[in-house]
Amino acid sequence: MKWLLFLGVFMSLHSQNKQLLYGFKEVPQQLHLNPGGQVDYRGYSGVPLLSHIHLNAGITGFSAFDIFADDGRDFNQKIREVSYSMDSKDFVVVNQQLDIFSAGFSVNTSLEDKLFVSFGMYQESDIFSYFPKDYAVLANEGNHNNLNRLFDLGQLSVSAEVLSVFHLGVNKKINSKWTLGVRGKVYSSIAQVSSTDNIGSFITIPGANNNLKHVFDLDMKLQTSGISSLREPNASNELEVLKKRLLFGGNLGVGIDLGFTHQPAPEWTIDASLQDIGFINYSKDIKTYILDGYLEYDGIQSVFPQIVSGQTAQDYWDEVQKDFEDLVEIDSTTTSYTKWRPIELNSSVSYNFGRKLDKECNCLDQSDPAFQNRVGAHLFAMKRPNHLQWALSLFYYRRFYKNLQLKTTYTVDEFSFTNFGLGISAALGPVQFYIMADNLLEYQNLAKSQSVSLQLGFNYIFKNNEN
């Protein structure tokens, strides 16, 4: 359990968009976002556990400040206002990634040809939930004044998972215009909970034989894996079990990332990647809870036993009670299931300009011929159970020295229209440090922020000899 708590702390702090890291050539972890990114170093080694720490939390519809502000207003009134201003498309997302190790090196396949091979392992946690609006209304108001209103119980859509991923990628610069890459992944799911394909409703309508008729229609499911064995009272050595699952002992899956970078001209760069085209097959330690039933109820029939002997209202009541018990009876199964990973798309178009000039000769500084500036637009999209999560960023990248690069972004997404981010990569000799954070305007008061994304890490870079 300690481990779960530990992971929980990490999770409590994330949207999966890494607009600052994407395309940041000097930071090797950009290859995790686009295996076909450009590489201009011989190799790298991430500092174990410190090469990539990523936290991202986002919520649409409101910020913590909206409800927890110390403004003297009635808390319950604020909760009501917020829950009524939201709808069932609003969502909350928490994502965390931690590189356990990562490294890469170039391999000469022939005198001219080079392949860049990178590999590593990271741990990831992901929580995603839509806002079940109708549940909130029902909890706030009840069915009073809501006759004939259908409460959509299928709005409950929530998933959470902790997994480890081992990956191996190859990246090849085909020519001066094209770089292609592919990364294979093996997922090991440590624990997974999801309830996403629910159908259900509750409605109260005028009845024929009584004032009201209540209709319940439930087809709900909660799938879990890796949880039930830990919940057993005599579960021993949870730490050992979790460690084992981290190292391919969990429910396994496979996937690939694909990507490319295209430079039709030295000034222009077009790149794109698809991440996590893959699935996990859940077959170990499965427990699926099923709530499936239909019930119409319009009251207890009173029969007055003087008239019809044998049956009383009691029998009807007992029947009603049994009907309700059957309705809410939860069946459980251990059938295995397969789930697709949430696929992610990244793509950007950028323009490079401003090469460094040598002041003495007024010619191109041959020691650093790279473009010093880059501006562009970046699109991120990710498949969620009922919609496509998206973000659009404009960015400016500036190379100050070979050892210092900066990138700023302005991002529009479902969380906010005022998201400014800043990323920096700095090197001291071969040791490189990077830190990237967005929503900087909100850092003065994190409670007002609807999303926070932070990445940082340390790498050891083996530069190209010519550098």
């Binding site: 927890f68 069915n143 034989n209 009584n210 009201l212 009251g299 994190l446 409670a447």
Partner: protein
Amino acid sequence: MKLRSFFKKPLSLILAIGLCFSCVKDTDFEQYDTLTINPIMEVSLVKAQEPASSFVDSSGNQLSSISDQVVLDVFTSDFVIDNLIKAELVFGIANSIDNAFQIQIDFYDSTDMLQHTFSIDVDNSPTNTPLYTEHIEVFENMNLSALKSTTKLEITINLISSSGSILTPDSAGSILLASKGIFYLKISS
């Protein structure tokens, strides 16, 4: 050195942004402790449909009353005891029998002690057209405690023999009873 001092600046800027100026201000997360929701649930209760002939025994004599009872543990459940702050039981009666009735509802606890009772007077319908009567019984304070100890409900339909005509197996009309409960809940965190 120039390089190093330059790089110190943005780095410290980021650290400053990240560590010093980032905070959570003017908030009070303990407000969560005051979270309450007040849903109002409407639930169908008892229903009955009795023709005039129901009030006549097998030898054709008019009965003085008929009754039925239900033993239930809903009102004494922990959820109701903790969260119910008010209840209204709404009864609607449509009588088209030419006889007046008194409908009596008794609430008993688990030791069969009467906790609460009320009755509803229903007029006779000489022309056998339905006459509507509505009654709302409100449970608050003392009444509410009585409701929360109720484990048995008895419903009795008494005939007021001085009214209307004497009922026979062929008498026209029926008495319909519909009811619902409106339950005011207060659920706290």
